[in-house]
């Protein structure tokens, strides 16, 4: 029973990483930019929730509105800069790396390098858990899973049903042809990067509900988040959610039956195998990503 509990709990935790991976995957798939600064935006989102909830007493979930707006602007401005200076795909990787370390250091200078978490008086979710039959799950994990489903379904609907979404898909497949058909990629790209930034803020908020914060956290997320992006298929939103659940579930099971230290090995070996045998991801989508 404890193994079942561990697997399901792991899968739910994995959905938090799916939220973190979502924006990264979409920006990589459609704009061809590996935006390492995405991890910085998640970090800022987490600390904004921490700060606003601790100082004003607002419900931490509500604070995400401010975080999402701020990170929308962050993401959009960076993308506008990439467009303005016509930064190549490769150079955007370097620049976003520079932005990531600036972010980490600024966060460390502002909020100190110590571990911090929201006081239980302002964060009513941390201590609660929900019983489902014989299994119990902490509330923050369930909230994260809920957000993950909402975001993924929302993103899927936007990409498939709206003009902007379809235009983005066309752009992701062939920029030149899409441009020739009159798709304004600059504006769409900035909007998409902004939206990805907003999801980063949501990921940060969800992280801060259940976990302690420290400035170096992005480097702990990098491996797992990229594993999810690659396993899910770059730019494939539903694949990202499935990959998150899969990676989380396998990590949880490995930790339970073997050792927590072994889960990076298992996850990483999966990524390597997936890269060799299914380089387009484990969950091919109908739209061809």
């Amino acid at each position: 029973m404890s193994q079942l509990q561990a697997t399901i709990f792991g899968a739910l935790s994995g959905s938090l990483f799916a939220v973190m991976a979502l924006g990264l995957s979409v920006v990589w798939g459609f704009l061809k930019i590996i935006n390492l600064a995405h991890f910085g935006m998640i970090l800022i989102g987490a600390y904004l929730t921490f700060e606003l909830a601790s100082t004003t007493g607002i419900d931490p979930i509500i604070t995400v509105v401010i975080g999402a707006i701020a990170m929308f602007l962050f993401g959009a401005i960076v993308q506008a800069g990439f467009e303005r200076w016509r930064v190549s795909e490769f150079n955007s990787l370097l620049i976003s790396y520079g932005l990531l370390i600036i972010t980490v250091q600024v966060v460390s200078n502002v909020w100190t390098a110590d571990f911090q978490r929201m006081d239980s008086s302002v964060n009513p979710y941390a201590a609660q858990s929900l019983a489902l039959g014989p299994l119990r799950f902490p509330l923050p994990t369930l909230i994260a899973a809920g957000f993950a489903v909402i975001l993924v379904v929302g993103a899927k609907l936007i990409l498939e049903r709206t003009y902007s979404g379809r235009a983005l898909q066309a752009f992701g497949q062939d920029r030149d042809i899409a441009g020739a058909f009159g798709i304004d990629h600059t504006k769409l790209g900035i909007l998409l990067a902004g939206a990805a930034g907003a999801t980063a803020a949501i990921g940060g908020m969800l992280h801060s509900l259940g976990e302690s914060l420290h400035p170096d956290a992005p480097f702990e997320w990098v491996g797992r988040v990229f594993a999810i992006v690659i396993l899910g298929g770059i730019g494939n939103v539903t694949g990202t959610l499935y990959a998150g659940l899969l990676v989380g579930g396998i990590s949880g099971l490995t930790a339970a039956v073997w050792s927590p230290s072994a889960s990076p090995f298992v996850v990483f070996s999966m990524v390597v195998l997936a890269l060799v045998f299914r380089p387009t991801g484990l969950f091919p989508s109908k739209t061809g990503h």
Binding site: L93, I102, L275
Partner: protein
């Protein structure tokens, strides 16, 4: 260029050798020995990173893994088990090299997204290593390891002198490796890979082997340098080793100094280490990552080619200002210490390098001669048709559900000039891709002179004598026209060195009438000239079969006539040619035999005149109506 390079490397080595002597003569205190040792450590690390990531374009975020393996080899073997420090250094280098080869084996075998996957893989490896080191009690177990001071020869005096000497040896050796690579096939293979890996492989460059050599060098030097540094650390911990410092610094240093020059990473190391040192000294420790991040972002936007390239444009002005500032501040003596003077001098030198120039670099482009290559008017001498060379037997290729080729059997014999024609989508380029080995067939066999080509690495096929050109020319953009051809000679059947290959390259360029453009970059010549360059480069592999994929596409009539003359010349030199073409006039005129493909199958083949009057061919080309009208 090579002569001046030798002087530079020699100056660095001699200057470093003189330092220990200075300790005795002047009051050269240990601060400066430590400071210089730091620069040397970063020189070795960033140079080793640049050998892979700068030269080949495979961007690594994982230098910390190689460094960490080195550090922990010294800590465990020397610190814990008392193995000789020199032996521990060698072990560290070898273990790190093994790790590098393992990473390369996984990442370099992938067909798609190789670059991106490699970058992400290297991002993850240090964190996995950190977990292993922290959890394994035989390595660290999370407690950290004390590294004692090793025994060193007494004549060196102090430990700091000893450490400086070891660091200098490692630093200079790393520079020497980069220096030699830049002047030999090992480096040029990587430059070709960076510009266009598929083309490099097709020209006979064993790309996988050279990427493995380069990542092995990266791992080996990174590991050795890490092991040596551990001697100076005294205490080694997981947190202190597997953090972002090393992977970040090597990237910033190499980008700042310049990735295309052996001395670039060293220049970057001098700048960044001095800056770091001064920031820490002034109590701005918490700002150093921010400053580095800002420098990285600004550099990528404003000067992606790095300082070394800027210095090269006005070496005397930069050197003069640097020396004048240093000497001026030193003889005045009213402010700061020598390291402060160095920091200011480095700053002013960089400022001079970044001053807007007189557009000196553009003159070369304007000087270029504009006369068109002459047209050859010789009549073709008949070439005897000989034994079969390429034999395709039921070769088929599917892309998903699309049957691009449905079992094509064809023979290309010595002395032939085969015109391969057919409507768009009939499978012409796919057939070229199969014969050249760029794609494996789904079924069927392909042989050259009895050698089975299926499954053979593409560079081996090139060595057997198959060369191709691309419909849209794919030159190596960062190499001159001459060096584009020289690459093909360097990695041909009998390999040559750089200088020999450059001389020989001019012969092939004059074969196609491009010898007046040897020193241009491919971006500076027109489409016709780029297509001729494709042919010269293919000919430089000394092929027995040459595959020309729409070499006339997009040319005006005069250029077409000129290109046809070049093709004839190549044919007369004894090379069998497969000529993919839309312009039927040209095919009729040139080909000794024509093969018509339609919807992935051979529709007709034979003498040009006979094939071109075949009703099936006319229907395929012009539709039923056109067929009716032509009768």
């Amino acid at each position: 260029m090579s002569d001046r390079g030798w002087i530079g490397l020699l100056l660095v080595a001699v200057g470093l050798a003189a330092v220990p002597a200075l300790v005795g003569i002047f009051d050269f205190n240990s601060f400066y020995l430590v400071f210089l040792s730091g620069i040397l450590f970063w020189t070795a690390q960033s140079t080793s990173w640049n050998i892979l990531s700068g030269y080949s374009g495979y961007f690594s975020f994982g230098q910390g893994a190689f460094y960490g393996v080195g550090v922990y080899s010294m800590a465990v073997f020397f610190g814990r088990h008392g193995v000789d420090w020199l032996a521990a250094t060698v072990i560290g280098g070898l273990l790190s090299m093994l790790l590098a080869l393992a990473i390369g084996t996984i990442a370099f075998r992938l067909r798609s997204l190789r670059g991106e996957i490699f970058a992400l893989l290297t991002l993850a490896v240090p964190f996995i290593l950190a977990a292993v080191v922290r959890l394994s009690d035989t390595i660290d177990g999370g407690q950290g390891i004390v590294v004692p001071v090793p025994e060193y020869p007494e004549f060196l005096g102090s430990f700091q002198t000893f450490f400086f000497v070891v660091s200098a040896v490692v630093g200079v050796l790393s520079l020497a490796v980069a220096f030699v690579m830049e002047r030999t096939r090992y480096g040029w293979a990587l430059f070709a890979i960076r510009d266009d890996e598929a083309v490099a492989e097709g020209l006979g460059v064993p790309t996988f082997k050279h990427k493995m050599i380069s990542i092995a060098a990266n791992g080996l030097i990174g590991g050795v340098s890490g092991a040596v540094l551990a001697l100076n650390l005294g205490f080694v911990s997981v947190e202190g080793t597997f953090n972002l410092r090393v992977p970040l610094f090597v990237i910033v240093m190499s980008v700042l100094g310049g990735r295309n020059h052996w001395a670039g990473p060293m220049i970057g190391a001098v700048y960044i280490h001095t800056l770091q040192n001064r920031l820490a000294d002034s109590g701005f420790d918490g700002w150093s990552l921010i400053v580095l991040g800002v420098i990285l972002v600004l550099l990528v936007l404003l000067a992606p080619e790095g300082l070394m390239a800027r210095f090269g444009r006005r070496p005397w002005a930069v050197g003069g200002v640097f020396a004048a500032t240093l000497i001026g501040l030193g003889s005045w003596g009213g402010w700061g210490q020598p390291v402060d003077w160095l920091a200011v001098a480095l700053g002013t030198a960089a400022l001079v390098a970044f001053l807007p120039g007189r557009r000196g670099g553009e003159v070369a482009a304007g000087r270029r001669a504009h006369h068109a290559p002459e047209i050859f008017e010789e009549l073709p001498s008949p070439v005897e048709v000989g034994r079969p060379l390429v034999i395709a037997d039921e070769a088929a290729k599917d892309f998903g559900g699309v049957h691009a080729l449905r079992g094509v059997s064809a023979t290309i014999s010595q002395g032939e000039l085969v015109g391969l024609v057919g409507p768009n989508g009939s499978g012409k380029t796919t057939l070229v891709n199969l014969i050249s080995g760029a794609l494996p067939p789904t079924s069927g066999t392909l042989t050259l002179d009895g050698n089975d080509l299926v499954g053979m690495p593409q560079h081996r096929i090139a060595h057997l004598g198959i060369a191709r050109t691309y419909q849209i020319p794919r030159p190596f953009h960062s190499l001159t026209v001459r060096d584009n051809v020289a690459i093909a000679i360097m990695f041909g059947r009998d390999p040559h060195g750089l200088e020999v290959a450059r001389d020989a390259a001019d012969e092939f360029l004059s074969l196609v009438g491009l010898d007046h453009l040897s020193d241009q970059l491919p971006g500076q010549v027109n489409l016709h000239e780029r297509q001729l360059l494709e042919m010269a480069r293919a000919m430089a592999t000394r092929p027995i079969v040459l595959l020309l994929d729409e070499a006339l596409a997009g040319l005006n009539p005069v250029e077409v006539d000129n290109a046809v003359a070049v093709v004839r010349r190549i044919h007369e030199s004894g090379v069998a040619i497969v000529f993919v073409e839309h312009v039927l006039r040209v095919v009729n005129q040139l080909a000794t035999r024509i093969v018509v493909l339609d919807q992935g199958e051979v529709l007709a083949e034979g003498e040009p005149d006979l094939v071109m009057s075949d009703p099936a061919v006319i229907t395929a080309y012009l539709g039923k109506e056109g067929h009716a009208r032509s009768q």
